[in-house]
């Protein structure tokens, strides 16, 4: 199966390990990976700040980049949610609305793709450790992917899972919210870190690099002995 990877700007620049793990994992599951060089960013930072007109060029660029793909897969629930938002943003535009729809229909978050499209529930991974999992808001609420990451993690050998208290609560990232409302964001991420600590887990796992950058950044700052990993890295361990 041919998969076109949408790595996301955060993974490309800051979390290249997540991108590598995604490629290796999908290849191991029999996919052929393609990475179009013209991909940049889904446009969320400026779009969510209200700069809709300013972001449209970037979104059009992304649509054109991926329009001919068979499947578009990304290790980020939030960025894929944004692809699903494109048809609403271009609503009424005779050229771009149909193109945006076409892209949205074939765009999947990584775990969603593995479980729903590849129909694989056990990727044959082994990972020794106590873990907990942060359910990212956009991925669970807006994209509606709740079960796939849980199914995949439950089949990882050696992995001990503890549910995160208050798992449905936002970590306080929210794109520019993290800097614009830094005071509030700090309280939110602090509560999240407290909850992670309560589980006694050695690893915090998530499926969205942005949330992990926020929670992980706070964990590092306050010096907690908790490692942060993307689910692609866990599923690629064997």
């Amino acid at each position: 199966m041919k998969v076109t990877l949408f790595a996301t700007c955060i993974v490309d620049m800051f979390q290249s390990n997540v991108g590598k793990a995604t490629v290796e994992l999908l290849e191991r599951l029999g996919c052929e990976i393609d990475f179009p060089e013209s991909q940049v960013c889904c446009g969320q930072p400026s779009y969510n700040s209200g700069y809709v007109k300013e972001t449209k060029e970037a979104m059009k660029r992304m649509i054109d980049t991926f329009i001919d793909a068979e499947y578009v897969v990304s290790p980020s629930g939030s960025c894929i949610t944004m692809f699903h938002e494109y048809p609403h943003i271009f609503k009424g535009d005779p050229v771009w609305e149909p193109k945006a729809k076409k892209l949205a229909e074939k765009s999947f978050e990584l775990t969603q793709f593995i479980v729903d499209v590849l129909k694989i529930e056990d990727v044959g991974a082994r990972f020794e450790g106590n873990v907990t999992y942060h359910t990212s808001c956009h991925m669970t609420r807006l994209l509606g992917v709740k079960k796939a990451p849980m199914i995949l993690l439950s089949n990882v050998k050696g992995l001990k899972f503890t549910e995160l208290p208050g798992k449905e609560q936002c970590c306080g990232f929210g794109g520019t919210f993290a800097v614009k409302m830094a005071q509030i964001s700090e309280q939110m991420v602090d509560e999240k870190v407290r909850h992670v600590e309560e589980t006694g887990a050695e690893y915090l796992i998530g499926a969205d690099a942005a949330c992990l950058m926020n929670i992980g950044g706070r964990i590092d700052r306050v010096g907690k002995p908790i490692k942060v990993m993307h689910i692609a890295e866990v599923l690629n361990s064997h």
Binding site: A7, C9, V11, D12, M13, F14, Q15, S16, G19, K20, V23, F35, E37, S38, Q39, V40, C41, G43, P45, S46, N48, S49, G50, Y51, V52, E54, T55, E57, A58, K60, R61, C137, H138, R141, L142, E168, Q169, C170, G172, G174, G175, F177, V179, K180, M181, A182, Q183, I184, S185, Q187, M188, V189, E191, M213, N214, G216, G217, R218, D220, R221
Partner: protein, 474 residues
């Protein structure tokens, strides 16, 4: 009390909220407790999503045909001997109510809980007229005797106070001598309030849902105070937001179920009171004169526009009870009687962007509000819509942000610019990088690194690794 409840700047209000440990504990406890109750009460129906869709459908239908139903409601209230006044502004609403107070030479007024009367500052007008106004909802009563402390929640107005604080207020203001046991406090309030009902000249209520077909209106309470407010005084005035109506009792039943389950996790509240017009010949109680004041106060401007769905709101506060921002800053931080996600959408619409422009940004757009709304208002989308209006129509965004976002937009639209920028990033960030982290970032990154570390850009970007690999590299 007006819609605006503070003259402090947004940041100061948030700072006060964040440092109020007691309030934060109370809010978190209430959110967690009410969250569980709400979930159980909605899940037990087995088809909650169908209920939500039905609720949405009813509210949308009413809004699409509001003129028709308002006319039907007015006619039916009049047929039953009631008076209807349509107030376009809060001033008109207050003026009409003032005229009734004058005509009746009213000295004492009892009220049941009503957000719309807070919105139009009714109490302060009545007090200026020399009336004694007594709030009879226990939460509102506590706030009123505590020097008009503003409500911090639309359903549980005194959420920010604990029983010890309430005991202190009672001791100081009412000569209360007993303990902080809730039963004793409630009993005392009950004794104080009972004599007020009996001696009041006018009773004023809000309205949960008016029923167009019969000219009735309903009140949903757990204390039964609204029954006494409507049964004892000779004159009754009911104030309603112009969108708060349903076609028939059938729709009312659906919305009341959605309301009580979403608001407090109850199948039904202790009292759901439905009243129609003034007392009739065979009635043993009820007012001799009934006035319905329908308040527009900016609502008709929302109707037909991109924010219309906010008028679907049935004031259940489910969105407030799940909001992670409200959880940490509390209701007073919003600076409006309408707090939380619904307040952040509604306040700028009713009170203007000048007063409330920060509120749409007080959200991570996490969607928790949208997920629980029993009438499916896309709250997080409306918050985003506000941001778009602030940036593009109102021109109220800071210039530094505009430049940054323009630059971002250009960078994200151009692979060449992105390529250069992302390649240069590690070198550019090198002076700020220690190990693999940036702990003191420059410019816009500072607000991030004040709180958390930021990862240093990878020396080898993912795309470089991928390209090398394709070429047969590692």
């Amino acid at each position: 009390m007006a819609m605006k409840i503070s003259t402090d700047q947004f940041k100061e209000r948030v700072s006060k909220g964040i440092h109020d440990d007691f309030m934060r504990g109370a809010v978190a406890g209430a959110q967690d407790g009410m969250g569980v109750k709400r979930r159980l009460a909605t899940e037990e129906l087995g088809n909650w999503e169908d209920w939500r869709s039905h609720g949405e459908e009813i509210r949308q239908h009413v809004l699409e045909n509001l003129d028709y139903y308002l006319e039907q409601l007015s006619e039916n209230v009049a047929k039953r001997g009631g008076h209807v006044f349509f107030a376009q502004t809060k001033e008109e609403a207050n003026e009409y109510i003032r005229s009734i107070v004058k005509k009746k030479e009213a000295k004492k007024i009892v009220k049941s809980k009503s957000m719309v009367t807070e919105e139009i500052s009714l109490n302060s007008m009545l007090e200026q007229e020399g009336c004694e106004v007594i709030e009879t909802d226990l939460g509102e009563y506590i706030l009123q005797i505590d020097d008009h402390d503003p409500p911090s929640h639309i359903v549980v107005p005194a959420l920010h106070k604990n029983k010890e604080q309430i005991r202190d207020v009672f001791t100081e203001r009412l000569g209360y001598t007993k303990t902080s046991k809730p039963e004793e406090l409630a009993w005392h309030a009950r004794e104080m309030l009972r004599k007020e009902y009996l001696s009041a000249d006018i009773g004023i209520t809000g309205c949960n849902f008016a029923v167009a077909e019969t000219g009735s209106f309903s009140l949903v309470t757990n204390e039964g105070n609204a029954d006494l407010v409507t049964a004892l005084p000779k004159t009754q005035i009911t104030v309603m937001g112009m969108e708060r109506l349903v076609p028939t009792f059938e729709e009312m039943e659906v919305l009341v179920s959605l309301l009580t389950r979403s608001a407090v996790g109850q199948k039904l509240t202790s009292y759901i009171t439905v009243l129609t017009g003034p007392r009739e010949a065979l009635d043993v109680d009820g007012p001799e004169e009934f006035h319905l004041v329908i308040v527009d106060n900016g609502r008709s401007k929302i109707l037909g526009g991109e924010f219309q769905s906010v008028l679907q709101c049935i004031r259940c506060a489910a969105c407030i009870n799940v909001c992670p921002v409200y959880r940490h800053v509390g209701g007073h931080s919003y600076g409006s009687i309408y707090s939380g996600p619904i307040g952040a959408v509604l306040s700028p619409l009713l009170g203007g962007y000048d007063e409330f422009k920060e509120l749409p940004y007080a959200s991570t757009l996490c969607g928790a509000c949208t997920e629980v709304c029993p009438v499916k208002i896309p709250l997080h989308n409306l918050l985003h819509k506000h941001r778009e209006v602030i940036v593009e129509k109102e021109g109220k965004a800071p210039i530094s942000e505009k430049l940054l976002m323009k630059a971002f937009g250009l960078g994200a639209a151009s692979p060449i610019m992105y390529n250069i920028g992302s390649k240069l990033a590690p070198a550019a960030m090198n002076p700020f990088t220690v190990g693999e982290k940036i702990s003191k970032g420059p410019g816009p990154l500072k607000a991030w690194t004040d709180i958390r570390d930021f990862p240093a850009p990878n020396k080898e970007r993912f795309r470089d690794w991928f390209k090398n690999r394709e070429k047969g590299g590692k």
